[in-house]
Amino acid sequence: MENAVLQFFQWFWNLFGLWDALWAVVKPVWPLVWVLMKIVAIILPLMLSVAYLTFWERKIIGWMQVRIGPNRVGPWGLLQPIADGMKLFFKEVLVPTGANKALFFVGPVMAIAPALAAWSVVPFFDGGALANIDAGLFYVLAMTSMGIYGVIIAGWASNSKYPFLGAMRASAQMVSYEIAMGMALVCVLMVSNSLNLSDIVRAQGRGWFADHGAGFLSWNWIPLLPMFVVYFISGVAETNRAPFDVVEGESEIVAGHMVEFSGMAFAMFFLAEYANMILVATLTSVLFLGGWLSPVGFLPDGFHWLAVKISFFLFLFLWFRATFPRYRYDQIMRLGWKVFVPLTLVWIVVIGTWMVTPWNIFK
């Protein structure tokens, strides 16, 4: 890939006869430039997906409620997210008088930075990760656990009651579901014997079913079915999406931590929330549904399969929002601590026992 890109640049700049002069300048910093180019290649499509995810969400919820949804801006309303983005971009960012000025702006940054940083280890296709590190799964867990600071800092720095209540709710909820999430991931790393996300995907491509052309039966979702469900539901709770959106429950605390934010500062929270949704969908696909692997033997593996799986989980996010009423706060805590955590603990023992018996299928 790197050579192909270099060759393209060489061809392009040779049209103007500038290649040799340019390369003399760029050569010492080329590794840095190459990494930056890869980062842009991940972030740009991600931001576009976020924009069109909001559009898709409004359309789908509209159809589920027998409405049309946005259809005014551009053909079929397709330019709606662009218009929304422009509007937010040109709006004034208001700072409340009693707010803590510095932390008020640190909040949105702390929300979006981990949401983007976690993408660096996600494998999009075989060998297609920005950083193919050994502790990838653990790194993702660390980055997603950082996202909560955005909510707490924003809620506190606003110096306003609704944001503060939102921050309090967020800190309790996100810490609770992180435990269930981490425990579910322990099962995944047990069966795949690796923390490297690419290796986890490759481990799912092995097995009796995969050898007989039905790869989707070899993926982690069947032996780890309870963990698959726990992980995805915890992911929904972690991203503060309906039905776990008490953090920003409109009917109770207006918009929670985002009440005092406007313009781009608000847009940052919005971007972070949707980027986190896509991240959870991607991770669920990578960990339980075989990432880039093809479900059947006669079709080639590739990024398109990952895209299909991600879209499926994103649709689930939107479907949940259109279907379920919001959980009460004590119900959220009960589900996290009294249902998910014991379930994951039991399943770790089940998997551990399974792996030492002769019927171990995870070799």
Partner: protein, 200 residues
């Protein structure tokens, strides 16, 4: 100076400044956030030492969980700094000697004699292909399995003790039974009364 050394100095400088601000910050919430920054930079230093598992564990455990609860508590407290600072210098006669003693001890332990390049030579470079996490896991569950299990039992005891210490049966406690709530059927809640229409 190569890139790693430069990175080391940057991370250490931020770490020291953040740690200083933890004790000098006037606002307790700022102090907690500076502590988070200090943890983050410490984890960066560990990454430079190729201890990636420990570095990420530091972030997951301390930054992601412990400090969040800390922040949660500190935000709820109504701390009046003026009142806290009253009589602050009155404790100098006790605090001053303790601080001096600690500095002397630290210098004695961390001096070049016991921590210098001669006393602590650089460890052998990690063998390629051996993951840090796996090596740590092997060490914990084979060579150090008894100390490790002991530590976990102590933690469990502390956990239970914390719960028991806070467990008080409150009389006015209202509890819900989710199983009962789910088992409710329409006939338990709704009674349909048939009424003749009151037409004239």
């Amino acid at each position: 100076m190569d890139f790693k050394t430069a990175l080391f100095y940057i991370l250490s400088a931020i770490l020291v400044i953040a740690a200083l601000r933890v004790v000098t910050a006037r606002n307790p919430v700022h102090a907690v956030l500076f502590l988070v920054l200090a943890f983050f930079n410490a984890s960066g230093l560990w990454l430079l030492l190729q201890a990636e598992f420990l570095a990420i564990a530091l972030i997951v455990v301390y930054v992601g969980a412990v400090m969040v609860l800390f922040l949660f508590v500190v935000m709820m407290l109504d701390i009046n700094l003026e009142r806290l600072r009253q009589g602050f210098w009155g404790n100098l006669w006790l605090g001053g000697p303790i601080a001096v003693l600690m500095v002397v001890e630290m210098v004695a332990v961390l001096s070049a004699r016991s921590f210098g390049p001669e006393a602590m030579p650089a460890p052998a470079a990690a063998v390629a292909g051996v993951s840090n996490t796996k090596a740590l896991g092997t060490a914990i569950y084979t060579d150090y399995v008894y100390p490790f299990e002991l530590a976990s039992v102590i933690l469990l005891v502390a956990l239970i003790a914390a719960v028991v210490l806070n467990l008080r049966q409150r009389r006015d406690n209202k509890q819900l039974n989710p199983a009962e709530q789910i088992a409710v059927r329409r006939k338990d809640r709704v009674r349909i009364v048939s009424m003749p229409s009151e037409k004239e």
